[in-house]
């Protein structure tokens, strides 16, 4: 279990709130206020585990109960003997903060919530960067980061994913009956390690479940800020 620095990207948070383009001056300064409050209150934690991949009817990770089914994950881990799984969270304290602000100011609440989403993504990016430098030095190539619910990897693996990482004891993350991680602003992900160079797709609309109802796409942009 590691504690990490939190950083919020204001423009990214604005997008998470449903804002398009750049926020104006006063919106930006309010977002900055939300980000500052968020950074003071959130405690980020992560747990990371290196696993051997076993191949049978489906992929499984040695020493865990995690079974990974589906074309997407198989394609991702095709060349990989090993993988890293991790869970990152910005904690439960901000849940209490958001509940309090929901009573006072819905707009500021949405800002806090958006900051939390931005922060947890940055947390994952940070973990990925660390893993990259660590394992590339050992001669591995990393795949893209992939999470339960992406492509055809069912979100129902979340329970076993978190159990494999012992998230409830290590970082206080549990999975609800309907597969939601609590605290809400938590992310699980898997990255494959291969001895061969890997293709990278980055975030791409093609594989996304929401591509037909996406408001960003309706407005001619993607959720990660690219013009379509």
């Amino acid at each position: 279990m590691e504690k990490r620095n939190i950083s919020v990207d204001i423009s990214e948070a604005y997008r998470y709130m449903g804002g398009i383009g750049a926020p104006d001056g006063s919106m930006r300064s309010e977002l900055r206020g939300a980000a500052d409050l968020f950074e003071k209150s959130a405690i980020s934690r992560a747990v990371v585990k290196l696993c051997e991949i076993e191949r049978g009817d489906f992929l499984s990770l040695k020493g865990t109960c995690l079974k990974l089914r589906g074309k997407s994950i198989e394609a991702l881990l095709n060349d990989c003997p090993l993988c890293v799984i991790f869970c990152a969270t910005v904690g439960n304290d901000i849940e209490a903060l958001i509940r309090k602000w929901q009573i006072k100011d819905i707009s500021f609440t949405a800002m806090l919530d958006a900051c939390a989403s931005s922060a947890v993504e940055n947390l994952c990016d940070g973990i990925e960067a660390e893993l990259k430098s660590k394992y590339e030095a050992q001669g591995y190539y990393l795949t893209d980061r992939f999470s339960p619910g992406y492509g055809d990897l069912p979100i129902s693996v979340q329970y076993d994913f978190c159990a494999a990482l012992d998230t409830s004891r290590k970082i206080g993350v549990s999975v609800s009956d309907s597969g939601i991680m609590i605290p809400r602003k938590s992310v699980t992900a898997i990255i494959g390690l291969s001895k061969e160079p890997q293709k990278h797709f980055g975030a791409d609309c093609r594989g996304c479940e929401l591509k037909d109802s996406c408001k960003f796409r309706e407005n001619g942009v993607t959720c990660y800020g690219q013009i379509i």
């Binding site: 929901q102 009573i103 408001k215």
Partner: protein, 768 residues
């Protein structure tokens, strides 16, 4: 146990509790090894043997517990007692998660009853990180078994758990429930746990428990960092602290226990003393009453029309906003009174306490005349509460003090009885003595007894201030008890009440008042407290006072009322201006005129710009907040004139069962409320039955459902089905990021609300 099982190949994520069924002899051998190494209490392999974790394993709780105990009993052969080991359920409780108090309680009860039957000598609750969950478990144990109770939590190095529970709050709350030993387990090695157990030991007189990990695990191979000798050496600090029960958690094995046994049996456990100071707490906030502490009085329907209306309409947001604003204004404790004739006080108290503790971190004072309402409030509140109140009446003392004792609360005693309020200080003092004696027979310690010497109106009894002050002084000096007083009564019927109240408050504090019940939003009152603290030496370096008043200049300049129009204020999202302009408008227009001619058109303009893509959701929300401020002004104005509330029709909004995302729903709620609709917000994780029952009971014609996860869409379909089946006539609109128009049609909803603006259009169409 976990360490031993994992070493023999148990995969991470597999329930270890099944070992008793699949490999009983192996389990037995582990127990035997520990006993032979010197273990004096053995924990059965039942940590996760709850129905939630065993679901899908093909085995029942009773089966697993019986088998686990059979193995342990065979191994022990009567040499040592066996503890029923119970860990967290594995799912988070409300409000962060979806697990309810009742379901958690039942899950624990099932294990406890089975464990006691199977031969448990005690129950050991361990590795809890949610104090609220642990409290439910302890209540289940106390109410369903007669097992001695051990309770340990896991904390981070800061002394806070993952859910923010402070070590001191854990100590105070769980000790109050009447367990047999408390302490810490897991998360760290012995050295890092010592400061935390010291903190716990400073607050609780109970025997202490330390069950440490063998240091920290290596991220790669899971190997723990401290060996058996190092472990025992680090644990030896326990003797000096006075820890009675010691053991090892993750990473330890019989070798560690043997090393512990060898070192510790020669060390004497030091005796401990705990301070007698008065402590109150919530889950995350710990308050010592060692100086004046403010009790916020605003959550009380007496004489407050807006508040009564909120309770009648189940407008809990209003109640919570009163809590938040008092907390922000500097209240240390919140009084909670929800008694309104004709309403279900028990239900309201439970709901308000639950809502308040999810939103505000202050300890609460449960204020009611009805024992059932007090019980409901105490049961719902996790922390150390105050009960307001008992008095000299024997019947009242006998009914309420057992509740105070059971939940480990503090209690306020009013110096009056069946004969009324005595005139003289001496008579009130006598009643205080009676209350003290009664509390002592129930085992309630002095530090948890607060006396309210009662404030009478000085305009009708000129000596009343003197008598009250004298009584406060007598109680403080002769009985050594803390004192409570609601000061505002003193000035009833006189002009410049503020001046009288703050002066009386100062006099009272000088005479020993510790816990004034007052309005923290009245700056004259909180200023008086600040000045008193400064002058009586409670403000070191005068820091708080200086901070408080050097900020005053800058805030007052920014609060100037802007002259402008409401449309502008709403479209720019300027809250303070919207409020000020609305107040101004009321001098020339009626409330309804303002709503229909100015406010709603202003919102419509923003809505259209949003649709055209000229502004986006953030701006829409800002405007909604500004409109909300305006609306609150109008609501209060209508009420103060004796009118009934504005309502263009009722709308239910709810996030469906299993889903806890509600920001989107709340945005829609705020915007719809600004249009004058009456919103019934059922919250999140709402069952279909609740939606149906509320729709029928409140005669609601428009129901809005929200879901954010593909996994909770079935719950939405179920809710729609249940509504149709009930025969209740209404329209259903659905929304949420994963929803599409097709799916909405598929499940039989009438409308798909793709955003807040569409929700408004739908409401206009359905309700007008």
């Amino acid at each position: 146990m976990g360490t031993m099982l994992q070493r023999s190949g148990l995969p991470a994520g597999m329930p270890p509790e099944l070992f008793a069924l699949e490999h009983p002899e192996f389990l037995e051998s582990i127990h035997r090894a520990y006993i032979e190494a010197g273990c004096q209490i053995v924990y059965a392999n039942t940590f996760g043997a709850n129905a939630h974790k065993l679901a899908g394993s093909g085995h029942s709780v009773i089966e697993v517990i019986n088998a686990s105990f059979a193995a342990a009993i065979r191994a022990a052969s009567g040499r040592v007692p066996i503890a029923l080991d119970i860990g967290p359920i594995g799912e988070m409780l409300e409000p962060s998660g979806t697990l309810s108090f009742e379901i958690a309680y039942d899950l624990f009860r099932e294990m406890l009853v089975a464990g006691e039957k199977a031969g448990a000598g005690l129950v050991a609750f361990e590795t809890f990180t949610d104090l609220a969950e642990l409290r439910i478990a302890v209540l289940a144990a106390k109410e369903n078994t007669s097992l001695p109770i051990f309770a340990t939590m896991s904390f981070e190095e800061t002394g806070r758990s993952f859910t923010g529970a402070l070590a001191e709050c854990f100590a105070e709350t769980i000790t109050g429930l009447g367990v047999d030993a408390i302490g810490v387990n897991c998360s760290m090695g012995p050295k890092k746990l010592m400061p935390i157990i010291r903190r716990i030991g400073a607050v609780s007189p109970l025997p202490l428990i330390v069950k440490a990990n063998a240091g920290l695990p290596d991220a790669r191979d899971g190997h723990y960092s401290i060996n058996a000798e190092e472990f025992a050496a680090e644990m030896s600090e326990c003797a000096e602290i006075g820890v009675k029960f010691i053991g090892g958690c993750c990473g330890t094995d019989p070798e560690y226990i043997k090393a512990l046994h060898d070192i510790m049996l020669t060390n004497k456990c030091a005796s401990r003393t705990v301070s007698e100071s008065t402590r109150l707490c919530s889950i995350t906030k710990f308050t010592t009453v060692d100086e004046v502490r403010i009790i916020g009085e605003r959550i009380n329907p007496t004489g407050k029309k807006r508040f009564q209306q909120a309770l009648r309409e189940n407008d809990f947001d209003y109640v919570l906003s009163q809590g938040v604003s008092q907390a922000d204004a500097g209240a240390d404790i919140l009084d909670v009174n929800v008694g309104v004739p004709g309403l279900d006080e028990v239900l309201l108290m439970a709901k308000c306490v639950k809502g308040l503790q999810a939103t505000v971190d202050l300890p609460l004072q449960i204020d009611s005349n009805a024992p059932a309402a007090i019980a409901a409030g105490l049961r719902a509140f996790c922390g150390k509460a105050i009960v307001n109140s008992v008095n000299g009446e024997r019947e009242k003392l006998d009914k309420i003090l057992p509740l105070v004792k059971k939940y480990g609360a503090a209690v306020v005693g009013l110096t009056m009885d069946e004969h009324g309020i005595p005139e003289t200080a001496e008579e009130r003092f006598e009643i205080a003595k009676r209350i003290l004696a009664a509390c002592e027979t129930f085992g309630i310690p002095k530090r948890d007894i607060f006396i309210d010497c009662l404030t009478l109106t000085v305009s009708t009894s000129p000596d009343s201030a003197n008598e009250t002050l004298k009584a406060v002084r007598m109680v403080k000096e002769k009985l050594g008890l803390h004192t409570v007083l609601g000061v505002s009564n003193i000035s009833f019927g006189l002009p410049n009440r503020e001046l009288i109240n703050s002066s009386f408050l100062t006099l009272a504090m000088e005479n020993g008042l510790d816990l004034p019940i007052m309005n923290p939003n009245a700056s004259s009152m909180t200023d008086a407290v600040a000045a008193f603290k400064l002058l009586s030496g409670f403000d070191s370096g005068c820091q708080s006072f200086v901070e408080r008043f050097s900020n005053v200049m800058s805030t007052s300049t920014s609060a100037s009322a802007a002259v402008g129009d409401i449309s502008d204020a709403v479209s720019k999202g300027l809250k303070a201006e919207a409020k000020a302009i609305t107040k101004d408008l009321l001098t020339t227009k009626t409330e309804l005129e303002i709503i229909n001619e100015l406010l709603i058109p202003a919102l419509d303009v923003v809505g259209e710009r949003y649709e055209k893509g000229e502004v986006f959701l953030p701006q829409l929300m800002r405007s909604a907040d500004a409109a909300c401020e305006a609306f609150e002004v109008l609501k209060s104005s209508i009420l103060s004139k004796g009118g009934s509330s504005v309502s263009k029709g009722k709308i239910i909004v709810a996030t469906v069962k299993g889903d806890i995302h509600d920001i989107g729903k709340n945005i829609v709620k705020t915007i719809l409320a600004n249009y004058g609709y009456q919103l019934i917000d059922l919250g999140r994780d709402v069952s279909p039955e609740t939606v149906v029952n509320t729709a029928i009971r409140e005669e609601v014609r428009l129901v809005g459902l929200s879901a954010l996860m593909t996994t909770t869409l079935p719950a939405m379909a179920e809710t729609v089905k249940a509504l149709r089946k009930s025969g209740h006539e209404c329209k259903i609109m659905v929304g949420g990021a994963v929803l599409t128009a097709e799916y909405a049609e598929e499940i039989g909803a009438d409308y798909y609300a793709k955003d807040a603006k569409k929700a408004v259009d739908i409401a206009k169409e359905v309700l007008g």
